[in-house]
Amino acid sequence: MKRFGVFFAVSALLFGMFAGSAMAGQIQVNGSTTVLPIAQAAAEAYMEAHPDVNISISGGGSGNGIKAIIDGTTDIANASRFIKQSEVEAAVKNGSYPVPFAVAVDAIIPVVHPSNPVKDLSIDQLRDIYMGKITNWKEVGGPDKKIAAVTRDTSSGTFEVWEEKVMNKEKIMPAAQVVASNGAMVQSVAGNPAAVGYIGIGYLDKSTKALLVNGIEGTSKNALNGSFPVSRYLYMFTKGWPTGEVMDFMNFILSDAGQKIVAESGFVSLR
């Protein structure tokens, strides 16, 4: 479960704050749970090479991360969306200037139960399912069974990509189930033969079946060349132009070694 990881990370951060606040080379990282695996793996590798630097990471969501940049309580904010205009204004008003770095590409893949014979849905079909216009799998070439559409919380970054790339200004029907994390999405789709959901490419495993979108497979290659329609950039925001250890850490993530970690964490690397 993703949530355990979040709690663990938060307590790790608190511990880090009390235990290591006097140490030099302290980097605070906060924000999106989508970017969390990248930040964690990169921080581990970086701290191994630089034992004097201590990086503490927590994942409270993109909004919380950017809020921490605005308040000046973190050095790096992970975000699965770009910063909003209102947030930039609030940050500038508080005297901090958020600088964006695109660190990876994330593809959002629609998934169904492995027993579902449906292989390919168009963007329009996905939209109609989530609007409640298509309610039975037989309308899209499946068995005669009602569709259980599962969506993410309206404030999650994953939802925002789905809304932007698939829903095209239409509202998701209120009757769609809502789950709070990618991990919970995998659990609920794997446990329900009638379900359809969507997850970040890093969460694909054998327990769910990935669908093609408009006939295009959701692979790293297709996400990077832009042909897969449901993909997005992932960002890290720094508090002002980075200096010292923070700059060094950002350089490491954007280096070949860092991008290899991005790929190993299940995302699409920039190169």
Binding site: M1, S155, P174, V178, A180, A184, A195
Partner: protein, 293 residues
């Protein structure tokens, strides 16, 4: 004499200071809850908030209808109470009136330990065990629904209510039972006609505390209730109680946005609901004292 009075004063002052600090913190929490929930009323009318049926907080324009969330909270709590209160009261009567002492010494700690069961574990059981089982055995589209969450929440409040109810049954004086037996009443007549009426205020307080626990519960409903912001028509519909909306949405909400204020307003609603129940419990207790004396 005067010196000992002086010495008494210091601990008294310390205790007063600590106690008033606690009260001050509670008042501050209440103040910040009210302060951050009032601004939403500048953009949305109270009737749209409480009676609106569309919860689309992040769309443009946003809609903040909390009726589905409110109904979600109340329906899960109601169903959980319906399932668990009779069981817990029966269990309490069994423990206090029927159960042999040796068995009781085992059962009571076991039930009390069950009360500390982490709700996240129950939610996880609902997600990976009960939900798939419900989907394969009933003709429904999702196993994460009102019934699933209510059953788990019922399991969660049974130990709390049982333990409190048992305490209040135990505090009924021995004389009442003896008098009843002396008048020729059987054991079941004694329990139903004498012990339960005497313990009634305590039993009702126990039940209300259980209901309060259920209204405020977050993890179980977040994981097992399905999270759809609709007004449920059957036990198999997914629901989104106020608590799970706050827990799931607060982390990704822009600071001091309308959505942020609306979530604080939802928190205030929850507080008012539990406050109302608490007042009822207090009232019942004071009535009970008057009956007894």
């Amino acid at each position: 004499m005067t010196t000992s009075l002086k010495e008494d004063r210091i601990p008294r002052l310390v205790i007063m200071a600590v106690a008033s600090l606690g009260v001050a913190i509670m008042l501050f929490i209440l103040y910040s809850l009210v302060r951050d929930s009032i601004p939403i009323l500048a953009h949305v009318t109270l009737s749209d908030l409480l009676l609106g049926i569309h919860w689309y907080p992040t769309y443009d324009p946003p809609e903040f209808g909390m009726l589905p969330l409110l109904v979600g909270s109340l329906s899960v709590t109601f169903a959980a109470s319906l399932l668990s209160l009779p069981v817990s009261l029966a269990l309490a009567v069994f423990l206090s009136e029927v159960c042999p002492a040796t068995l009781r010494e085992i059962l009571k700690p076991v039930i009390e330990i069950l009360g500390f069961f982490p709700s996240v574990v129950l939610g996880f059981i609902g997600m990976v065990v009960i939900a798939p089982w419900m989907v394969t055995n009933f003709d429904i589209i999702t196993g994460l629904n009102l019934l699933n969450a209510s059953v788990l929440m019922g399991i969660m409040i049974i130990p709390i209510v049982t333990s409190l109810a048992e305490d209040s049954l135990n505090s009924v004086p021995r004389d009442i039972r003896d008098a009843s037996f002396a008048l020729g009443a059987t054991r079941i007549e004694t329990v139903l006609r004498s012990v339960i009426p005497a313990a009634l205020p305590g039993l009702m307080t126990a039940a209300l505390l259980g209901v309060m626990r259920a209204i405020g519960e977050t993890m179980v409903v977040l994981m097992a209730a399905g999270g759809a912001a609709i007004i449920p028509r059957s036990l198999m519909d997914p629901v989104r109680p106020l608590t799970s909306a706050i827990a799931a949405e607060m982390g990704e909400t822009p600071f001091r946005s309308d959505h942020y204020y609306a979530l604080f307003f939802a928190g205030l609603l929850l507080l008012l609901l539990t406050l109302a129940l608490n007042m009822t419990a207090l009232w019942i207790e004071s009535r009970g004292k008057r009956w007894r004396s």
